[in-house]
Symmetry: C2
Subunit: 140 residues, 2 copies
DNA sequence: AAATGGATTAGACAAAGTCCAAATTCTAGG
DNA sequence: CCTAGAATTTGGACTTTGTCTAATCCATTT
């Protein structure tokens, strides 16, 4: 179901499939997100990508993440008041948000049903529905 | 059902009922939120409270909002990546989020049912569930 | 190899929010 | 009424996240 091996070559193909010119930096950023399959902040991505020798500037990280988002390659997750997370999973899904650690855990949307939402205001359409289950350790 | 008249005197009582010492500044901030029954950012509250003659510093606005939150008088709403909104409605409810304008509209949680959520990770309890319906004008 | 246009860069900038020591205000006791 | 101590507020420096811009770099085409 999921493509299991994420190589840098795969990333180039993936970018092209989304009409994105695969440059060095873009491949590295995509690789950071997809190889890990984790929710990362721009800052974390910066650190990962520049781990050994500095390669990619802050501006490029932000530019690239926004570009990926526009081309539906990744998704923004807004749960932490201080920073945005980027999610390589663009399929419909929701999140557990660990209030203690800031960790995010995916919830497949396939099983989740939401009923009883009121009608939308006139002239509006739904862009998406996010469910965030805020959780914390029981011994807190 | 809802207390319809929010006066500054009421605010003092409300604060006391939540074990908060009702000071001048705190009353004004509570009044700004409750009289309007709107979702406001810290910045908007700053502006409202200091409209005529400057009364309240930035530090106090932030301190006070966090204090209110800790005492369950108001709630944070995290939907806009750039700022936190504060919501005087602490009852269970969800939100429409207008992506064009940034406007938030309450959805009463009474009618909404969510089914099929997976079991929580071991040792975790739910603190709350937020549903955000992102909407936009249909002619966009 | 020159031209063209897209991509990247450094660094200045902006906005949200935090922190802290000093100043102010409040309260209770005398 | 006066004052000591506690609680609250304040200004301003600071941090962090993210944006912007003009200059530079690079890849491709001819």
């Amino acid at each position: 179901m999921e493509k299991q091996n994420y190589t840098r070559d795969n990333m180039a193909d993936l970018l092209r499939a989304h009409d994105i010119n695969p440059t060095h930096q873009r491949i590295e950023i995509a690789y950071a997100l997809f190889a890990r399959q984790e929710h990362l902040s721009a800052d974390q991505i910066m650190t990962i990508v520049n781990d050994r020798h500095s390669e990619t500037s802050k501006a490029t990280v932000y530019n690239t993440l926004n570009l990926f988002k526009q081309h539906n390659l990744i998704r923004e997750v807004i749960v932490d008041p201080s920073k945005v997370f980027y999610d390589p999973n663009t399929g419909p899904h929701h999140h557990f948000f660990n209030l203690e650690t800031g960790e995010l855990i995916d919830i497949d949307a396939g099983d989740v049903q939401i009923q009883g939402l009121p009608a939308l205001p006139a002239g509006m359409v739904t862009e998406g529905v996010d469910v965030i289950v805020r959780i914390r350790p029981s011994n807190a």
